[in-house]
Amino acid sequence: MTLSSPVITDSKPEAAPGGDDGGGGAVDRVYGFLRSIPTGFLWLIVVVWSIPTLGLFVNSIRDRDAQRATGWWKVEPGDFTLDNYDQIFAARAGLGRSLLNSAAIAIPATIIPIAIAAFAAYGFAWIDFRGRKGLFIATVSLLAIPLQVALIPALQMFNNGAHFTLPLIDKTITLIPDFDLAGTTTAVWLTHTGFAMPFAIFLLHNYISSLPRDIFEAARIDGADHFTIFWRLVLPLSIPVLAAFAIFQFLWTWNDYLIANTMIGANASEQPTTIVIANLAGDFGRNENILPAGAFVQAFIPLIVFFALQRYFVRGILAGSVKG
């Protein structure tokens, strides 16, 4: 796309503030009001978006009978109770331990895929090798695989390793030894790492491939090799997208139920918070009243992560430096 030509093609008169035709003061004021609609719209969305969460929060500090009897907006100060939270933190299933387990899953499952995917994205974007495009499309296409289908094979692999029986001499060669990983948090984050790859590569490649070619060429002329370019240029320049991906990957892995549930199985001591809280609800929804509180406990750490990483979305990491 070219920048210069189409920007101002349709040359409509601009409504300069304070207008050149003096007559329409009131009209201009109304118009000015209407022009602020986007901001109003933004805050309207914000309010609408927060209502469900607000309701959840209010309900999390009301007891079961109150939750069922009246809407949350009719809450009275006297209704507040921390019983639901007490119940969660006192749970036999061990919320503290489960939070540790969640961290033991989510942290490696965030950092490791970022590293590996950044390598691959750089490789696909800036290293010229045969079959690059085809391989890239094939990789990203795997995004479409419903991960449920991969759960059982992955579990089998973590359970038994991977073996290959040689024909004729009937000897089994172990391709991946059995590390006895089934039922551990390690199995969970390894699985997350694999499943995250297509999206991570897709997202990072989109960003890394759009970095200006000049930078790379200049660096190559300087004699920098791929490793140096990647390490010294690409990584620092990709901070916003890395932060974005880190946020999502952390949230997905922190909030994941399915993979953890499959890989951990019956091993209660390795269960992350999602499983513990879902199980707390009781069969037939017997303890549904503590779910709002559970959801808040669950969401607390992801929100901190989001706030912490949000500051990396800063305008012009790249632009400012090119200009300078």
């Binding site: 719209f41 490696p108 890239f136 479409a144 790859m197 200006p212 989001f306 632009a319 090119v322």
Partner: protein
């Protein structure tokens, strides 16, 4: 990104050095020091804690060892191949030494050779010896270009190593030989090796030699009963392998500079892309192939049934029900949609006359076109029913809804006061797990008997609106007045825009007037309408409240489930698009501003094209995510009340009903139906990028 090249042609070394200075050598602000300090404290705290908590200890040790070891290997490999171009001898020696060390580890670490054992010194002995001997051969080969000398070095070195290894093997490992296996493996693998070399357009001898060596190794050692042989069989099993490899090395040539450059690139490709492919292969490719195979078998994976699982999906009435397709022509959204499309047509003709383009990004034709198309699609999707139709509906609504919302918020919030607060709140749903989200929305959608209080926000509002609009109290009057004011304002805006800017700018207020006016007429009960909201009129004319059962009343219950997904997914779109917008170079925007462009022009003409590929990423990811969505449906309805989607159907069949064949077929359908979208999107993005 050609724009950038053009806009700054002098981008060169200067750019890069500035970049480095700006990005890497920034002065640290006090805040960063604070962050750093907090980080250090957290790490220290964790260390102390891990002293008491074994879980943290084992996890962090596992992770650190895994990261450091694989990171070390990765960086090491990079450093190694850094040598290829200019220090070929060094590279060759190190590469051979590493291979030797690995052979040493394998032999010695597994207690196969004499002298191995527990303890540090015995453990490192084998690897060191391997590294030294192999490294020497590598160096010698790199230093010599004469073919005969090379052959001599290869053969001699490998013979010596082979001899030493076979003599050092402990007697419990002496293999009892199986001549048939040796011959068969050697011949077969030699043929394969030769074939591969031929396919790679190389002289086949090398491949044959390597294949034969591998075959001999597997045949002699793999087929053997260990411990039954003697030192002689050990020699027979080892020496030929070594000699074959030695010959292969001996007949090869040292790489010239061009070949070394090629090797450099090729090795980098492997080093950078390889680790990802390894994970992808193990966790996605193999399972995918397995699923494709299972989808052709019956429910217990016992018998071959061909495509029966697939045909059963399409012939099932629950999957695809086109019986009532004529309903679409009478459905309200369809008719309104057609009406809006007509407006779009008129506006389009008008625009064509003034600007030469009927439809253009950001011109007034776009809004009615999109709204009309959406409404028509609603008409179609509510008339045609079934799992497959539901999936299409989900894709259209959620993809459009969340991307548009995310984009709108990213734009409106950009550099405004409260940006962080607004974005954080919109992002919040992403942080709530799906269990949490479903609980929330159960509360939002809850309907109670009209004799009791409503506990769901939506029903409370809906019933309240019904009461207001059918009532006649003060609140009703106030709302009527407010509506009148809004309508007046809109008419003013319409008139202002019509007189000043022509038809184009009048479209949005015009459509708004239609909507608000319709609501106003319904609300005051003019023209034979009764009111708007949750109420019903009994035959005797008595008006009573009525709730909407959002989750169960089809077909729009589908839409209410999609709302949940939009609620969650908008945060995703917003964050990605916002990050992309922040990366749009400021001077583009400043340049446009200097040229006098309005905010909306800057957005449509500058920002949007810049982030087009990112929008592609968001759309593609959302489509894929929507096709795979199962949690929401599972928790809210489990596919009942006509809300089934493919992914939940798959989960049910595969995991609850243990109908593995059909589950696999559904999974393949999801995969195959997304594939064309993915492919075209990626190709388009690549072309644009």
């Amino acid at each position: 990104m050609q724009t950038l090249e053009r806009s700054d042609e002098s981008a060169s070394e200067e750019t890069v050095s500035t970049l480095r200075r700006n990005v890497l050598r920034r002065d640290r602000t006090p805040r960063e020091y604070l962050t750093l300090g907090v980080g250090v404290l957290v790490v220290l705290g964790l260390l102390v804690w891990s002293f008491f908590e074994s879980k943290i200890r084992t996890t962090s040790v596992t992770v650190v060892v895994a990261v450091v070891a694989s990171g070390g290997i990765w960086v090491g490999a990079n450093l190694l191949f850094d040598q290829v171009r200019d220090n070929y001898q060094r590279f060759n020696a190190i590469a051979y030494a590493i291979i030797g060390a690995v052979v040493g580890v394998l032999l010695h670490g597994n207690l196969i050779t004499v002298g191995s054992g527990e303890g540090f010194l015995p453990w490192v002995l084998g690897p060191l010896a391997g590294a030294a001997s192999f490294g020497a051969i590598g160096l010698a080969l790199a230093l010599n270009d004469d073919p005969q000398r090379r052959l001599a070095i290869g053969l001699g070195g490998s013979a010596a190593i082979g001899l030493v290894i076979s003599l050092l093997i402990r007697d419990v490992y002496y293999p009892g030989l199986d001549a048939v296996a040796i011959v068969a493996y050697t011949v077969v693998l030699a043929a394969i090796g030769g074939g591969l070399s031929y396919l790679r357009k190389r002289p086949p001898v090398g491949g044959v030699l390597l294949g034969a060596a591998l075959g001999w190794l597997i045949g002699a050692w793999g087929g053997a009963d260990l411990g039954e042989g003697s030192i002689a069989t050990s020699l027979v099993a080892t020496l030929p392998v070594a000699l074959l490899i030695g010959t292969r090395l001996g007949i090869s040539k040292n790489l010239d500079y061009a070949e070394r450059l090629a090797l450099d690139t090729r090795s980098r490709a492997t080093i950078f892309v390889g680790p990802a492919l390894l994970f992808i292969f193990g966790l996605l490719v193999i399972p995918a192939i397995r699923t494709a195979y299972l989808s052709l078998l019956d429910r217990d994976s016992q018998e071959w049934v061909g495509l029966e699982n697939y045909t059963s999906v399409f012939t099932d009435r629950d999957s695809l029900d086109l019986e009532n397709w004529t309903w679409m022509f009478t459905s309200v959204p369809f008719l309104i949609g057609i009406g809006v499309l007509v407006i779009a047509l008129i506006v389009g003709i008008q625009m064509r006359r003034t600007t030469g383009y009927a439809v253009e990004i950001g011109n007034p034709t776009m809004a009615p076109l999109i709204v009309g198309a959406l409404l028509v699609s609603f008409g179609v999707f509510t008339a045609l029913r079934g799992t497959i139709i539901n999936n299409m509906w989900w894709v259209v609504v959620v993809t459009f809804g969340s991307t548009a919302m995310g984009l709108a918020i990213a734009v409106f919030a950009d550099q405004r006061r409260g940006e962080r607060v607004a974005k954080s709140i919109v992002f919040m749903p992403m942080a709530i797990s799906l269990v949490g989200a479903s609980i929330i929305w159960r509360f939002v959608y809850a309907a109670r008997d009209i004799s009791t209080e409503q506990t769901g926000v939506l029903n409370a509002l809906w019933v309240g609106l019904g009461k207001l609009s059918t009532g006649s109290g003060l609140p009703t009057l106030i709302i009527t007045a407010v509506l009148i004011l809004i309508l007046l304002g809109l008419f003013m805006m319409l008139a202002y825009n019509l007189t000043r800017y022509g038809v184009g700018r009048a479209v949005v207020p015009g459509v708004l007037i239609l909507l608000v006016g319709w609501f106003f007429i319904r609300f005051i009960g003019a023209f034979g309408t009764v009111g708007v909201g949750g109420f019903k009129v009994a035959p005797d004319g008595e008006i009573s409240a009525q709730t909407v059962n959002f989750v169960q009343e089809g077909p729009y219950n589908n839409f209410w489930l999609m709302v949940i997904m939009i609620w969650i997914q908008t945060g995703f779109a917003m964050v990605i698009l916002s990050a992309a917008m922040k990366a749009v170079p400021t001077e583009f925007i400043e340049a446009a501003k200097i040229d006098g462009a309005t905010d909306s022009q800057i957005f449509w003409r500058v920002t949007l094209p810049q982030i087009a590929t990112t929008i592609g990423v968001v759309v593609t990811t959302t489509i894929v995510g929507v096709m795979k969505v199962y949690d929401i449906v599972k928790v809210m309805t489990n596919g009942q009340f006509g809300t089934q989607v493919l992914a939940n159907n798959m989960f049910q069949e595969a995991f609850s009903f243990t109908n593995i064949g059909k589950g696999a077929a559904l999974a393949m359908l999801i995969f195959l139906s997304v594939l064309p979208i993915m492919y075209s999107n990626i190709r388009r993005m690549q072309r644009e990028g």
